[in-house]
């Protein structure tokens, strides 16, 4: 990234967070609550015990994968608003493959289900990628439309052909044991999915540091015309970037399904795909920055549940913190862009 480097990103994130916490305190105080107690509860719920930390990391897992998806596309100059839809189709594909009666060795089942999720996400990302690359159709419009298609398509499938009629829940059949991802007992939802996500972050970092494709994606993102003139296949690169981005988002859905819900629940995502945009921007688009910001967002999510339970403060206060952090990240991005234009 062309920003002032990792250290300055970190400094900026810290000050944004401090500002956000101060704002939240004001809001709580104005609403007649006890800011210190509430925020202490938030912190305790986020990182006050080993279980709290594991819960935070579990919440961070889908955000990390989807955040990587958004950041990868954005480095190629493509705004992937469609992570949510890619995540949903990825989750459904993983649930479908995971529930199959399969005669292959059981240890292959989980990787196959993960792969199915990644493929479905990639296919969902490929459509806007190809349209953008060869036809110039704006990816924002197409990804938004693809979101609606994914939401309604999965809704239809899980209510119709793929519905498990033996339960009241609107869900697919549970995935078989061999397809489930290992997770820690005790309800923290911490699972092998977190390590999958970390591996993905390492993979994205490697992609941009060492591979020709990563170089091409960055070149197209930062200087499309120069890249084209130098012979970089711009359309192919855009399609590839969107495929990879979709694959990561699809993986996020697959991990959620295989590790947490163990089946595809209708509308299981509380908007991971949209939150991941903020995660990506806050993380400064670098893989490790995105890792940190996803942990921050995961912690806020875990902490806010605890805060609501132990104080009378509603969990939406965590939303205030998130919002301020996002605005700060946006301001920073704008300032950077203006500097570059000058």
């Amino acid at each position: 990234m062309h920003s002032g480097g990792f250290a300055s990103s970190l400094r900026h994130a810290a000050s944004a967070l401090a500002l956000a916490v101060a704002t939240a305190a004001c809001v709580i105080w104005l609403a007649g609550g006890a800011p210190v107690e509430a925020l202490a509860a938030l912190a305790k719920g986020a990182a006050g015990s080993p279980d709290a930390i594991l819960r935070s990391l579990a919440k961070a897992t889908p955000l990390l994968l989807a955040g990587l998806a958004v950041s990868l596309a954005l480095r190629g100059g493509l705004f992937n608003i469609g992570a949510e839809g890619q995540l949903l189709v990825g989750g459904l594909a993983a649930a479908w493959v995971g529930a199959m009666d399969w005669s292959v060795p059981a240890w292959l089942h989980a990787p196959a289900a993960l792969l199915a999720g990644a493929f479905a996400g990639a296919a969902w990302g490929a459509v806007p990628g190809v349209l953008r690359g060869w036809r110039g159709t704006h990816e924002v419009i197409v990804t938004i439309m693809m979101n609606y298609i994914a939401i309604h398509l999965t809704h239809y499938l899980v209510n119709g052909p793929l519905r498990d009629t033996s339960t009241m829940a609107v869900a697919t059949r549970p995935v078989r044991e061999g397809a489930q991802l290992w997770s820690l007992p005790g309800g923290t939802h911490f699972s092998a999915g977190f390590f999958v996500a970390l591996a993905a972050a390492a993979g994205v970092a490697f992609l941009f540091r060492r591979t020709a494709l990563g170089f091409e994606i960055r070149a197209v993102g930062q200087g499309e015309r120069a890249a084209r003139a130098a012979g970089v296949p711009v359309a192919h690169t855009m399609a590839r970037a969107m495929c990879l981005s979709g694959a990561l988002a699809g993986l996020a859905g697959a991990v959620e399904v295989l590790a947490v819900h163990r089946r595809f629940l209708d509308a299981f995502s509380p908007g991971y795909g949209f939150d991941s945009i903020a995660v990506a921007l806050l993380g400064g688009l670098s893989a490790w920055g995105v890792t940190l910001s996803s942990v921050l967002f995961g912690s806020l999510a875990a902490g806010s549940v605890y805060m609501e339970g132990w104080t009378s403060t509603p969990r939406q206060v965590a939303g205030v913190v998130q919002a301020v952090v996002i605005v700060a990240a946006g301001v920073r991005l704008l300032r950077q862009r203006r500097r570059e234009e000058e």
């Binding site: 930062q222 084209r228 970089v232």
Partner: protein, 536 residues
């Protein structure tokens, strides 16, 4: 003369330091008499443009004093400059593409009654200014349809529309045919005769000698001399411009204020252009052409005629210059040759084999290199480092890993080598491209194009905006390539450049080849005539 005539502009002790610490102006001064055309010359980075930006209110100086028409002023913004009667026509025109010509002209000074625009009034006023100067523009057309020269005229009228009495022009003739440039100077002469003052920033000494009354020479942020043009010689000015380096390789120019217009500037006459020229006898068998365009037609990129039925060839070892007024098919020709644009009819051949339809990358592997005209958008990824820019397009080449992986050790070494070989002034290969000066940016583009010993180099205005020594280095690099047997397709809007370095000159007009002249037969009048649509 300067003692008695009121000074239109007086600047003293101007200091401008950019955030990076660069001293762009370091005590620069300027005195311009009313009713004169005053030239400002100097190499790239001498601080000419910065000084003009100070005068136009775009760049607040750190210190220094400015007087306009005898009154001490501060100029915090272009709006303030306009109120003082100062107008500027920039190097990069600032025409807003979405607006019509007249909307651009009246932008910010719209005649209106109770908020309702009076467009017709604006057109009439602009037209009367245009009539006086002999400029006609399609007032109500979208400004996107304008050529660069027309945009410039739009800006000129825009400045006068606002009542400018002091006009700054930054490299105004860089994109004009000789006749167009002469017409512009005719306009400017009319302005000065009416008491206006013109500040002309230029790299072309001939313009200074032919049209200016006085000249200020800048070097390294300072004003080193001010002379009356009638009392000075070109080689004096050149020596003042380059300072200590004058001794190294710049041949003296004959004192010729009224020289024949065909006289070549000295920097385009060096030994490099004499040797290695294609000397084959045209009547004997010509070598097999390296590149051929056969009845090539290309739809227009944005506007203009596109390319129509163009047949050309480049043989090994020659520089084929392509002359023409901007927007007559040059871009379409070059982009069709390098593979960025597919022709609607006809063929492009390399070594007699059709390569029409092949990708840019494929052609590049086969030895076609491209030097685009706009180095900042088409040549470089500005946020990339020098090393990364040198790698661009070669990222899957065998030298750097040959496929999926890039060996950063090798790319770093290659970048260090290129930085050394081409004398790129950068702290290291890790410096971002935007931090380099224009000349050094161009060196990066050229280093990348020439890596891998290309056989055909398609260069589009490779010296635009470069100073004398950078220009010479570019020409030497191209000439060196021809000595190796490469062919060069050199598009330039600067006819002097083509007359200086090309072996043959093809003239494009209206997308067609209006004529191909050997250099021996090419004089500026003849080429200019063809450029403007005359018959051979």
């Amino acid at each position: 003369m300067t003692d008695r005539a009121p000074l239109a502009v007086q600047m003293k002790g101007i200091v401008v330091q950019y955030p990076g610490g660069v001293l762009a102006n370091n005590g620069a001064s300027l005195a311009v008499a009313s009713g004169t055309l005053h030239a400002i010359v100097g190499e790239n980075g001498a601080g000419k443009t910065t000084l003009m930006h100070v005068l136009y209110g775009r760049q607040p100086p750190d210190s220094g004093r400015i007087r306009v028409e005898g009154v001490e002023v501060r100029i915090p913004s272009p709006a303030a400059a306009m109120r003082l009667g100062i107008g500027m026509v920039s190097q990069h025109t600032t025409v807003v593409p979405g607006l019509t010509v007249i909307e651009n002209i009246m932008l910010g000074a719209e005649p209106h009654v109770a908020g309702v625009l009076r467009r017709r009034e604006a057109v009439e006023r602009a037209q009367s200014i245009g009539d006086r100067l002999g400029i006609a523009l399609p007032w109500t057309a979208s400004s996107e349809t304008l050529s660069l020269a027309e945009r410039q005229k739009t800006e000129l009228i825009k400045a006068l529309y606002r009542g400018a009495r002091i006009l700054i022009l930054d490299e105004p003739t860089a994109a004009l045919a000789p006749q167009e440039a002469d017409a512009l100077f005719e306009v400017l002469r009319g302005l000065t005769a009416a008491g206006g003052s013109v500040l002309l920033v230029t790299h072309k000494l001939r313009e200074v000698l032919e049209h200016a009354q006085r000249v200020t020479v800048m070097r390294e942020g300072r004003t080193v001399a001010e002379r009356a043009v009638g009392e000075t010689y070109a080689d004096d000015i050149l020596a003042l411009m380059v300072g200590q380096r004058a001794a190294t390789g710049v041949a003296p120019l004959a004192p010729a204020p009224a020289a024949e217009s065909s006289a070549q500037p000295p920097w385009e006459r060096g030994p490099a252009s004499e040797s290695g020229r294609f000397t084959g006898d045209r009547s004997s068998a010509r070598p097999m052409p390296l590149l051929e365009c056969r009845q090539l037609s290309v739809r227009p990129a944005e506007r203009g005629p596109g390319l129509r039925d163009c047949t050309l060839e480049v043989i090994p070892g020659e520089i084929l210059g392509v002359a023409g007024v901007d927007g007559n098919g040059q871009l379409e020709l070059v982009e069709a040759v390098v593979g960025l644009r597919s022709p609607s009819a006809g063929d492009v051949l390399l070594d007699g084999e059709s390569i029409t339809g092949k990708s840019v990358a494929w052609r590049r592997r086969r030895g076609i290199a491209y030097i685009p005209s706009d180095r900042q958008t088409d040549g470089l990824v500005l946020d990339f480092t020098v090393e990364e820019n040198l790698l661009l397009g070669w990222q899957r080449d065998e030298r750097f890993g040959g496929g999926w992986m890039i060996d950063r050790g090798v790319t770093r070494a290659a970048a260090a080598e290129a930085v050394r070989a081409y004398g790129i002034r950068a702290d290291s290969g890790g410096a971002p491209a935007y931090a380099l000066s224009g000349g050094n940016q161009q060196k990066v583009v050229i280093a990348r194009a020439l890596a891998g010993a290309p056989r055909l180099i398609a260069a589009m205005q490779p010296t635009r905006g470069l100073d004398v020594s950078s220009t010479r280095r570019v020409h030497e690099a191209l000439r060196d390539a021809t000595r190796r047997g490469a062919g060069v397709l050199l598009v330039s809007l600067d006819l002097d450049e083509l007359l200086g370095v090309a072996d043959r000159i093809a003239v494009l007009f209206g997308g067609r080849v209006a004529g191909v002249l050997d250099r021996a037969d090419a004089d500026p009048k003849k080429v200019g005539w063809l450029m403007l649509g005359g018959q051979e």
